[in-house]
């Protein structure tokens, strides 16, 4: 376990956190997809680093799955989707980006506090990054809450899953293979179903604005 590898993992973790913040404030859908693909790249790079530094061979497979799914396949599906839904150049109006950034910072501090006592138990070389992983999850959560268009919500959802995978490699050396494969399958099937679903929504409402989807109220 060279200190160099630890530094490298921390670097990729920082990149993931930075990308999570960038996604929070990004208004263009196309750019959002690029940011998502970059986050997937940072995730697979950090997984490869951990695999190389510790000799955990199964992590190479894990990184390969991440790379194919999150850097190639899902962004490709998303690209096709926004082209066929013709929302490629959509710009969302986001109010209060500075406030959102501040809330995001609070979330990061909260995550680090929550993760600190626990990460001390970890034997993984990436244990310092558990806080970052939790922060990524919560930031994607925040992104989903604040978006009013369907596609950015979906991207927020997928990016939350990135954070969870990152948590799995930073707390332990990745989940058992069969579980990782199952999760990957679920994400892929979920993406396909969401695609179908977006077309249904557009057909019904002529728009992908989810303000149309707030009619059912508690009464």
């Amino acid at each position: 376990m060279s200190p160099f590898a630890v530094q490298l993992v921390n670097l990729f973790a920082a990149a993931m956190l930075l990308l999570a913040f960038a996604m929070l404030s990004q208004r263009r859908i196309l750019a959002l997809i690029h940011l998502y693909a970059l986050q997937g790249l940072a995730l697979s790079a950090s997984t490869v680093t951990v695999a190389w530094a510790t000799g955990q061979d199964h992590l190479y497979y894990s990184a390969a799955i991440t790379f194919t799914l999150k850097v190639l396949l899902l962004p490709w599906i998303l690209h096709r989707l926004i082209r066929r839904l013709s929302v490629k150049w959509d710009v969302e109006t986001l109010i209060n980006i500075p406030t959102m950034m501040l809330v995001g910072i609070v979330l990061v501090v909260f995550s680090f506090n929550l993760a600190l006592p626990i990460s001390e138990f970890s034997r993984s070389i990436a244990r310092g990054t558990l806080g970052i992983a939790l922060a990524c999850v919560l930031l994607s959560f925040l992104m989903m809450i604040t978006r009013s268009k369907a596609v950015p919500q979906v991207i927020g959802f997928l990016s939350m899953e990135n954070g969870l995978f990152f948590a799995a490699t930073s707390a332990t050396y990745g989940m058992p293979m069969v579980v990782e494969l199952g999760i990957a399958l679920d994400v892929l099937v979920g993406m396909v179903i969401l695609g179908v679903f977006l077309f249904q929504i557009r057909e019904q409402f002529d728009s992908l604005d989810i303000h149309h989807l707030e009619k059912l109220k508690e009464d």
Binding site: F141, F157, L164, A167, P176, V179, I193, F197, K215
Partner: protein
């Protein structure tokens, strides 16, 4: 041949073959036949487990003990009767122009796959696969909730997808933490997520990690149980989807989600050596029971009202399992059984009633007894049963839960009684004019399937009067497993 393999293979094969066959006139019968085969396999498996004790299979990846085998049998049974109910129901929907051949094909195929995901979640020994199966259960039903393609159904399905997706993501984080705690004791890879192994070493798991893990797991799977305040998706999904789906969501999926919570609770309780996990479940359960009782008194849509009633009952079960101990666990398991039987029977009757009225708004459904006495009586008896009138099984289990609560947590009893009272008044006031009085309802093109309604209610009645000794022994064993 292994009954477990058949149990899982049949619905999986059913899903794909119903998709491959496409929509044809006999599809509802094929669907019911697959469900019947699944039920037979479940009965065989139950027989095996009763006679030889808990079994593990496929390198311990699957595990069947008295706790989950009873849920497997219940799930397969209700899935079969719901398939019977859906035959005339879906044909009528097609006649009314709400279903097209393409949508029926999707419906039948997804129905089988949904059954598969629930059975996989119940029988798997791997906490990671449990998560995968729970997520897959959402995925298979989301397109069924939106199958009518109305604005309201699309909204309901979107909410269902996003809320359950986010919820289940929390459960994945919980599972990761669980693996983290387990890996320190059991070593990396493979075995560290197997529940049987975890159960053996649960006292050695690191308490700090396990408490955080349980919080995430409870919130995650609790979203699918419909615990307040994570319940928003549930009434919408029940009200806007087709009625057979409402019946299996309420009667089965909520049970499976609660089962996942219970499995996690056993581990957390062992690791923490305190009542932290139980107390959290009691809190969530109590809030859900109370809030749902007050929400349901304000509903106008009949399926929404009974959806809130499901939240109320799930809250009650969560409370019972949170209390723990042999009697409360026994009552929780009994309540799980009778609630799924009775609630799905109610949804069957409600489905036919809503079809006759052409609406789900309760004010427009009047005088069911005049048009079809059997649907009317089915709804009335079902309602009395779910409200906890003796001699039905719900009365027995609620009585046990309340008396245990009185002894161990006296402060909670008035709150529970208040919730049950409010629900009783609200539901009976709504249902009574729907059943009695003058009518404006029409006849249906297909004879409604009422056998499932009365079989379920008969079983609910039987469990209130007499629990067969082997069933009682089985509940007691399962209750003991839960500690």
């Amino acid at each position: 041949m292994d009954p477990l393999a058949i149990l899982l293979a049949v619905p999986l094969a059913g899903g794909f073959s119903l998709w491959a066959l496409g929509e044809r006139d006999s599809a509802p019968e094929i669907n019911a036949a697959f469900s019947f085969a699944t039920f037979m396999a479940a009965a065989w498996l139950t027989e095996d487990v009763i006679s030889t004790g808990p079994i593990t299979a496929f390198h311990e990846q699957f595990f069947v003990d008295p706790l989950n085998v009873f849920l497997v049998a219940l799930t397969a049974f209700v899935a079969f009767t719901t398939a019977l109910f859906s035959r005339p129901y879906m044909r009528t929907e097609r006649e009314h122009g709400r279903m097209t051949p393409a949508r029926l094909r999707l419906y039948h195929s997804m129905y089988q796959l949904f059954t598969f995901t629930m059975l996989l979640a119940l029988t798997t020994n791997n906490m990671g696969i449990l998560w995968v199966a729970m997520e897959a259960a959402t995925l298979t039903t989301v397109l069924l909730v939106s199958v009518y393609r109305t604005a309201a159904s699309l909204e309901a399905a979107w909410k269902y997808f996003i809320l359950c997706g986010v919820g289940i993501a929390q459960a994945l984080f919980g599972t990761i933490l669980l693996y983290f705690a387990a890996e320190r004791v059991l070593g990396p890879q493979g075995d560290a997520l197997l529940w049987t192994h975890l159960d053996v070493v649960k006292h050695q798991l690191e308490p700090a990690i396990m408490s955080l893990s349980f919080v995430f797991l409870l919130v995650g799977y609790g979203t699918k149980v419909g615990l307040v305040p994570l319940h928003n998706w549930l009434p919408d999904a029940h009200a806007e989807g087709p009625t057979p789906i409402s019946a299996v969501l309420s009667g089965l999926l909520l049970n499976v989600a609660l089962y996942s919570v219970i499995r996690c609770k056993v581990l957390a309780e062992g690791a923490l050596d305190s009542r932290f996990a139980g107390n959290m479940m009691m809190g969530f359960g109590l809030v859900s029971t109370l809030a749902a009782a007050f929400f349901l008194s304000r509903q106008r849509d009949i399926k929404r009202m009974f959806a809130y009633s499901s939240i109320e009952h799930m809250g009650l079960m969560t409370f019972a399992f949170g209390m723990g101990g042999p009697i409360a666990n026994f009552a929780g398991l009994l309540h799980m059984t009778v609630h799924s039987l009775v609630k799905s029977a109610i949804f069957f009757a409600v489905g036919h009633a809503a079809q006759k009225a052409g609406t789900q708004v309760m004010e427009d459904i009047r005088g069911l007894l005049r048009v079809s006495p059997r649907v009317g009586w089915g709804l009335m008896i079902g309602t009395l049963a779910i409200l906890g009138m003796p001699p039905f099984g719900v009365f027995a289990s609620e009585f046990l839960i309340l008396t245990t609560a009185m002894r161990e947590h006296a402060w909670a009893t008035p709150l529970l009684l208040l919730a049950l009272g409010v629900a009783f008044a609200a539901i009976l006031r709504r249902v009574q004019p729907m059943v009695f009085g003058e009518t404006t309802l029409r006849r249906l093109p297909y004879q409604p399937a009422l056998a499932p309604v009365f079989i379920h209610l008969g079983l609910g009645l039987m469990l209130g009067l007499y629990i067969p000794p082997y069933l009682a022994a089985w509940y007691q064993q399962a209750a003991k497993l839960l500690g």
